[in-house]
Structures are given as C-alpha cells and as structure tokens.
C-alpha cells in the first residue's frame, strides 16, 4: 500500500497518479513492502485529538487566521501551476513577494502539543529568529513567532 501525500488516499503499489486527488505519485512508485499501514500512520496511539485551538496572526497585515477542524495544517501559497494545495493560503498577504514557498511549513497538533515542520521551503523558516532545519519538527508555544521567508506570523494557542 502506498499513501498519497496530499490526500492520504491509499493506493496500490505501482499507482502513478492518486485516483482521489490526481497527485503525481512518481516519487512513491517504489513499493513499500513494509510501509506502515494507513491506520498505523495516521491513527497511532500517540496521536491525540487536539485539545487546543490555534490561530495565526499575520503580523504585517494585522489579521488573525483561525485553524479549524484538523490536526495537521500545511501552510503556503496557491499559484496556478500547482498540483498540491496547502490548507492555509497566504497569497493574499503578499506571500509571493515575501518568499513564501507553495508548501512552506506544516503545523501539527496532538493533545496540547503543537509542533512546526519546515517542508523544505526555498527561503527557510525561523522560529523566534532562529533558523530551523527542514523536515524536523520543533515544539511551538503560545506567542512564538515564525518567519516564513520574510513573512512574520505569530502563533496563538488557546485551550479549548
């Protein structure tokens, strides 16, 4: 079984495009005989329902975007020639001009724990002014500032 990275649809090994969302699965073409099953990957016991609400405050625009209904959000910008869309689109806040990648970071909530992962963005991500390594998760606290390229975003975490 291979799992579509975009919509989590399970596909047979050898699938070239996800039947559900049309994402090109080229890079997953390799069979993954021992790959963890869908349930294991996405409903592991360590996964807990979110117990906090998160909002992102776009500092330059003075706007607050609440993140609702999921336990993981991808954040970036939408442009026309893009197969995989982020959950949160920052393009209306001059994301392109500020060097935000299309898939820049993901924010994950498990219980009270919130983490951020840079998804291999071009211009990188800073957490409270320090650059973080791509594809590694870092814990987030209420009031932390993330800098995506040059765009500053403050993370607001509240108990439900």
């Amino acid at each position: 079984m291979i799992i579509c990275p975009n919509c989590q649809n399970p596909e047979m090994p050898g699938a070239v495009f996800c039947q559900r969302c049309g994402t090109n699965l080229d890079s997953l073409l390799q069979s993954q005989p021992s790959a963890p099953s869908f349930d294991k990957m996405y409903k592991s016991p360590s996964e807990q329902a979110p117990m906090v609400n998160i909002s992102l405050s776009i500092m330059d625009a003075g706007q607050v975007l609440p993140l609702l209904g999921k336990n993981e959000y991808t954040i970036g910008r939408i442009s026309l020639d893009q197969p995989v869309l982020p959950d949160v689109d920052l393009s209306s806040y001059l994301a392109y001009e500020k060097g935000v990648s299309r898939m820049h970071i993901s924010v994950r909530i498990s219980g009270r724990k919130v983490t951020v992962t840079d998804l291999g963005s071009i211009n990188g991500t800073q957490l409270n002014g320090k650059k973080i390594l791509p594809n590694q998760s870092y814990p987030l606290d209420h009031g932390d500032t993330l800098t995506l390229g040059k765009m500053k975003v403050q993370v607001l975490i509240r108990e439900k």
């Binding site: 047979m12 495009f17 559900r20 969302c21 049309g22 073409l29 069979s31 026309l80 893009q82 197969p83």
Partner: protein, 488 residues
Amino acid sequence: MRAIEENYYARLGIPLDATPDELRHAYREAARRLHPDTNPEPFAHDIFIQTQQAYDVLVDPHQRASYDADLPPDLKIPPDITFDTIYSREDLPLLAEPQLLYVLITINAPEEQKNEHTLPANTCLVVDSSTSMQGVLMDTVKTAAIEIFRSIHPGDVFSLVTFNDYANVVVPSRGEIDPKHVETTIQMLSASGSTEIYKGLQAGYLEVKRKLRPQQTNHIILLTDGQTYGDESACLELARQAADEGITISTLGIGEKWNDTFLDNLASTTGGICKYISKAAEIRKFMNGSFHSVSKSYAKGIQFDAVLQPAVNLKYIYRLLPEASPLGIDLPIQAGHLPVGCVFSFLLELTIDPLPKKLEHTKLADCKLALNIPSRAVPCYTLRFSLKRPIGKRSAGSRPAPEISRAISRMTLYRMQERAKEEAASGKINEATISLKYLATNLFSQGEHDLAKKVMKEVALLESSSAISEEGKKDLKFGTRSLNFDRR
C-alpha cells in the same frame, strides 16, 4: 456490383496468419450474413458461393499451404505501421500485496499515399425529429445534418432517416442522391412526436446493411437530443450486432438533456465516436475533425483481445487517440479506427496479484490487435504480442516514461470527474465537492483554466443545490476527454 475479392483471405476477412479457430469463426459469420435465406440481395448469393470455396481450401492444411505458396509475395509484406508498447515500470517487484501496472499501446499509421484511391463510404444519417427538438435544437440539428451531408463524397453511398415515434427513410441507400432534394428535406424537417431511438437506429441499420461491403467504411451517424424511453437495451443489442457486421455507430448529442451515458455506450460498442455539441457553431469543427477522420481511416474495426494470466486482472481501458474515451473491459473490445497519418493509442490498467517467488520473468497476457486495412489486398492484419515484465528487486528510481505518465494523467482526470458524478448521484455531496475541487486544482495546474472554471462553477452549484447540472456533467465528461494529449 463490385468485383469479388481475388484472394481467399480477403474473401473471408481474415489475416494471412489466421488460426484454424479464427478461420472457422470467420466462415460462420460470413455464412450467417450472406446465406441466401437471410440476405436477399443478388450479390450475396455469389459472394456466399465464393466464400464457401475459399473456406474449403483454407480449412485443409495441405491445400492451404500450397495456396499460400502461390500467393504473390507482395501480399505477405506487413503493413507500413509502427507498433509500440510502453510499460509504467521496468520490472515488477515481488510483493505480498496486489500491485498496479499500466501499459500504453500505440500504432502509427503511414501517411496517405498519393495514388491511393479512397474507398467509397456507406453512411446513414439518422436524425431525431421529436417534439423536444423544437426551436434552436432543431436548427442546430439541421445545420449539422447538412454539414454531414455535404462532407459525403460523390460516389459514396448515403442514406437519411428521420425518426420520432416511428422512423421515416427519407433517402434510401439504394437510390440516386439528389443533393437539392436532400438539403430541402432536411430544411423542411419539423419537430413532432416522441423520441424512440431504436426505431431510427434500426431503420438506419437496415439502410447501411443493404449496401454493406466489408472493405468500406459503414457508418451510422445518430443525431439526437434525446432521452429514449425503455428501448436502451434493444439499441445496445442492435449496436453489438452492427459491430459484428463491421458497422460503426457514432452519436452526436445536441443540447443539454441527452442521455450521454447511453449514447456513449452505443458508440463505444461499435468503435464509434460520441460527441457533445452545445452550440450550432461547434458543428463545423467536429465535421472537419472527428467525423472526417472516421471516413478517412487507414484501419477500421480495430479489435483488441487478450488472454490474461490468472494473477492478472484488467481494470480499465482508456483510449487516448484518435479520440479519448473509455473502452469498457469486456473482451474482445471494439477499439475504433486509425485515421490516415495518425496515431491510435490506448492505455491498459492491470492489477497483478501477489506473484510466486523464484520467478525471473512473468508473462502477463497474450494479446491480439486485429486491424482491418481496406487499402491492402488482404485487409485483415493481426498484431499478436505478449505483455511480459522481468521480476525486479525494487529497481532503483525508475519513473514511468513521460509519454505513459501523461496518458495516465489524462485517464485519471477523466475518472476523477466520473467519480465526482457518482458521488453526487449517490448523495455523497461532501465527497463529490472535494473530488471536484481536486479536479479543478489539477486542471488549473495544467493550464486548463476554462475547464477548471466550469468545474468550480459546478462546485458552487453542488454546495448550494446538492447536484451537478446536466450541462456541467457533459462539460466535465467531454471536457476532460478532449484535453490535448500531445505525445511528445
């Protein structure tokens, strides 16, 4: 009366390498079609005798061998086509779970020869004139019918049938054609009665059959807006019979209300084309494209058949060229025609059950692609090939070739809209909305902005009224099919 084919293989409509089974089958078919009891045409009797004679020689291996030895050698030169199969992966890993494999099969036809005479076509135009066609639709149909009529070459056989609750043969296939009379008749058509497609189709079928010659294009073009009531299965049965006899049915749906699933089935059963026309202005474009190409075939009646290994299942067949369309999976499949100087290509989706260990190569299927190339002395030509793959140990980073990747992408987009429509029809509005959004995203990313916007319009409609519009269903279906498939 035309000359009877001079060699036995052409007479029976079989390839030079026909197996004894294929020979017997062809003979039985010909006997059924030509026996004086069932076919009163005077030519049928002569041809029947000739066919019998051909069969008697070929069925005996010794006589067949000596007959073959006497055939002119140029008959044995294979046709000037190139044939290719591309697999989605270079080898098959040994897995404990089922896996997918795609195979893209293409045939290139040679360019048109200058001295080649085009064979006369036998076309019947079947026009819906029921009440529902009143007004703009009727005008659209008239324009289309006249365009189709004008594309008929002098010397071709042409017939015209109109229908509502009964069929009316306006121009019989055996009569002289008076162009003025035909065009005036079409112009004078008025709408009345209900739609019974079977009546029209049957009359059209009889007209074409009356002038049926195996070596020419035998084509019924059905022009309708209509839903037909209760006679779908009779129509499909007739279509299967027509396909067996080498008659192609193409369907042209006018307006928004027509039953696209049914007309699509009808066309694909016979290897024909199904098109959607929303405006009269689009007709000329189709006339110069698809329909023209059916009458300028290098090969017609292409049939695909395969014997699959027990571990292999055929899941989907999608034709990319010359016209994109799913082909159904009930083997053997009428796969359509190959226009002169063009490409015929289709994609197979196979699932493969877990394979036994200690295997180096595996054969997946024995396939047969039968072509009918009217310009050749032995028109039937069969490509026989096996699908096989080496067993790999997780070949490093092998990606599918761009060509097959693009083909799979096209097929995926088509199936995404089918899926969305199914979800919407079964009340899963949320799923359908998500499916359509995914489709729109993909279309935007491929620069298909117009179609993507139509999809987004349907998303809005789905959210407000929990249904996809009839027009939208057709826009999506035929829009995703007509996406450009550039092989380079």
